[in-house]
């Protein structure tokens, strides 16, 4: 073996051990990150199955009785149904009004279109809920819709429309207009074009918007908190808050099982959309 080759071997060895160290470092960091994100969530999968749950995440004394408690609690079940109703209402309204809007904005160009959308998006980030809680409250009050689902649905739809249109427009931008043109030549009305040509193609976009809006509405606390009154109309987000601020001790058995049940739908929705369409925000770009 020459000096050159042993030198080369030596360099290779250093290179390998360096790579090894880097790899270890990499996996170490990954582990840390995973731990950071997983730890607070651990409670959510351990406590609901624990006979006597405490605030710490610990190995459970297995039982399903906590879920029974939830099922037997009228208000708890009702609240999840309420959340579902809100989601269906808002998502439906957003898609029905937002998709055509996105389509129109894609096909019609006017000066400042991009700025307009961008401004609208910013606006909705700022206004929904907190900054405008007083006038929203008064508006719904004056419309006589305090303590109604309608009021909440309308407000939430108005608030999430700009972002939804923004997302959908990217999808409608990507659909070629040639089919539409042919269809129009054959006399199809805009509605028909929308329904039969555009909608099927932007289905992934609709799915993303549904998840985006759905997740936001499912978890929305502030607006139902302000606009609804009766406990029987409270969605799960609001009812849950009252569980652990109630007088006396918070019932961890109820809270843990309820939290898990309340979380599962959102998780499933995400997994489904991710598997089917890939969860990325805009356009068809995959990573």
């Amino acid at each position: 073996m020459t000096a050159a080759t042993s030198q080369a071997q030596h360099r290779r060895a250093i290179g390998e051990s360096r790579r090894f160290a880097l790899r270890v470092g990499f996996y170490g960091m990954v582990a840390l990150v995973a731990l950071f994100f997983a730890l607070p969530m651990a409670w959510l999968i351990l406590a609901p199955f624990d006979q006597v749950p405490t605030l710490a995440a610990e190995v459970p004394e297995f039982t399903l009785s906590n879920f029974e408690r939830v099922l037997n609690n009228r208000l708890a079940l009702r609240s999840m149904v309420n959340s579902l109703l809100l989601v269906v209402g808002v998502v439906g309204l957003v898609i029905v009004t937002g998709a055509p809007t996105a389509y129109v904005l894609s096909r019609i160009r006017f000066r400042g279109r991009e700025i307009f959308l961008y401004v609208l998006l910013l606006f909705s980030s700022v206004v929904t809920g907190t900054a405008a809680m007083v006038p929203l409250f008064l508006l719904v009050f004056n419309l006589g819709m305090i303590d109604t689902f309608t009021g909440v649905v309308l407000v939430l739809a108005g608030g999430t429309l700009p972002a939804s249109i923004f997302i959908l427009k990217d999808f409608t931008d990507n659909t070629p207009p040639s089919y539409e043109e042919s269809a129009r030549v054959f006399g199809a009305s805009p509605i028909q074009i929308l329904r039969d040509i555009v909608l099927p193609v932007i289905r992934p976009g609709l799915a993303v918007v549904s998840v985006w809006v759905g997740v936001n509405v499912w978890g929305n606390f502030l607006l139902p908190f302000i606009l609804l009154r009766s406990p029987s109309r409270s969605p799960a987000a609001v009812l849950m808050y009252s569980f652990y601020t109630e007088g006396g001790q918070a019932d961890l058995r109820l809270i843990s099982a309820f939290s898990l049940l309340y979380t599962v739908p959102v998780l499933l929705m995400y997994l489904y959309v991710n598997r089917r369409y890939g969860f990325r925000f805009f356009g068809g770009l995959k990573g």
């Binding site: 109703l85 009050f141 004056n142 419309l143 009154r229 009766s230 009252s242 601020t245 001790q249």
Partner: protein, 489 residues
């Protein structure tokens, strides 16, 4: 009433279609909510119009609203209304050949939320016919025009009710504003110092404890701390998380013990950084710096609930609270922090003035009382029937039925005599504490003053000196009500 409601009404027209569409798809819950009241009513004297019309066999519906719900908050009241008041009253009406239906609209929410809901209902000229409110809200609601004196909401006949003789003047005041009765009180309460007799025994202290000054309280606390290091000697509420419970159970009983009231009627001023305020804050300073009380407990979100749990578990020796504590917290049957041996272990004592004779009206002992009542909605369609129902609810028989053998201080003296005899604690409160008590001033601004008191005590709990906290409080108060309306500093 609201600004730009004209503009909104225009929008309502635009929206009618959308709203209709959504009402078809979405669902609203099936509970009966508000009565249909004419949309344009402002606070007029509905009494005059209605007296002739409803004394016939026309079907009438009357609604009661309260922050009570079966199996939840104030469950006993909800059950009583649903199971006794409604059937009994409806039966009575039937005997007279009248078709009256009574509906109960019960909710079990936070007091603040309930207040907001009521403000909304009353502000939109809707809401139940009979509404339960806290006495301290009467001023605000009256100033906003949401409620009217009973004589205007119903008619002059309200003053003829025999029940007024049974309700002590001071208790009536709780539901009055500027000399007029706005509602019928539902009872009142008093504050005392509870203590754990077992812990006192262990520390070698006498179990028939009745302190006569603040210094005695501090001495007792120090003795407890020395003898039982693991026990928190004292819990006097402070801080903002406990809200009005700080003001009512902690701050104000101390303040009236210095001879000062938070609002002085003669000079029409609020107490700023007065001598009394300084003394109160210094008392807080002592208990926190000497660690006779747990400062952390005052700033935790769940501090009040924890203090209840701690007392029940024997880790707090002395606690200042209202009779609510005895009835609904440490009550062995239905309390939220039940103590099995409550009757043997829990002792009670009057709250002492700072020194003997230094309390308001020269008293040696002091207390604070609150309480609520029921009002009649000025927008009611049936004021006469609502008033009849009101009289029935507050009749001796109905209240006895409500108490159902359970001891509780009601608004009627005749009932109290009968019912409290069996409960030594509550008869003690009724006989010895109520005569000493004071009430809060019924102004719309009071809740915000109350928060300033809570904040001052909170600053002290967090380590600010009493003097600094008092100065801050003075300037905050001046900012709130104007420098002219504040004494002290």
């Amino acid at each position: 009433m609201q600004p730009s409601s004209a503009m909104t009404r225009r929008l309502v027209v635009v929206f009618a279609a959308m709203a209709l569409l959504l009402t078809a798809c979405g669902t609203e819950a099936d509970e009966a909510t508000t009565t249909e009241a004419p949309a344009e009513t402002t606070a007029t004297t509905a009494g005059e119009e209605a007296t002739e019309t409803t004394e016939t066999s026309e079907p009438v519906t009357v609604e009661i609203a309260a922050n009570a719900i079966r199996d939840g908050k104030n469950s006993a009241e909800a059950i009583w209304i649903e199971d006794y008041v409604i059937p009994t009253f409806e039966a009575q009406m039937e005997e007279q050949g009248r078709d009256v239906t009574v509906v109960f609209n019960g909710r079990g929410v936070d007091d603040e939320d309930f207040k907001a809901q009521l403000a909304l209902d009353l502000g939109s000229a809707s809401g139940a016919d009979i509404i339960s409110i806290d006495g301290i809200w009467v001023g605000e609601f009256a100033e906003a025009g949401y409620i009217l004196p009973l004589s205007e909401a119903v008619g002059p006949e309200v003053d003829d009710w025999e029940g007024w003789d049974q309700v002590p003047e001071a208790v009536q005041q709780n539901m009055s504003y500027q000399g007029e009765r706005y509602g019928v009180p539902t009872g009142t309460d008093g504050r005392v110092l509870y203590f754990n007799k077992d812990l006192f025994e262990q520390a070698g202290l006498p179990t028939d404890w009745q302190p006569t000054s603040w210094d005695e309280v501090l001495e007792t606390a120090r003795a407890l701390k020395a003898a039982l290091p693991d026990v928190t000697p004292l819990q006097i509420n402070a801080g903002t998380p406990m809200g009005e419970a700080t003001t009512m159970q902690g701050y104000l009983p101390l303040l009236v013990g210095t001879g000062e009231r938070i609002y002085d009627e003669e000079s029409e001023t609020w107490a700023g950084a007065t001598a009394g305020t300084q003394a109160v804050l210094e008392f807080y300073e002592s208990i926190f710096t000497e660690e006779l009380a747990d400062a952390d407990l005052q700033i935790r979100q769940d501090g009040r609930d924890r203090s209840f749990q701690d007392f029940a578990a024997g880790s707090i020796a002395i606690l200042g609270e209202g009779d609510y504590f005895w009835r609904s917290v440490v009550n062995p049957q239905e309390g939220i922090a039940p103590m099995e041996n409550r009757d043997e272990v829990v002792g009670w004592a009057k709250i002492p003035a700072q020194t003997p004779g230094s309390g308001i009206s020269g008293q040696d002992f002091v207390s604070m009382s609150g309480g609520g009542g029921r009002v009649i909605n000025p927008n009611t369609a049936n004021p006469a029937v609502a008033w009849e129902l009101m009289m029935f609810i507050n009749s001796r028989e109905a209240i006895l039925e409500f108490l159902a053998g359970q001891a509780r201080i009601s608004q009627r003296m005749d009932v109290n005599e009968e019912v409290l005899a069996g409960d030594p604690f509550l008869s003690y409160v009724a006989d010895e504490v109520l005569p000493l008590t004071a009430y809060r001033p019924g102004f719309a601004i009071y809740p915000q003053v109350s928060v300033l008191l809570q904040e001052a005590s909170e600053q002290v709990a967090l380590g600010t000196s009493a003097a600094d906290a008092a100065q801050q409080y003075q300037s905050d108060l001046e900012g709130l009500v104007g420098a002219d309306a504040v004494t002290g500093g």
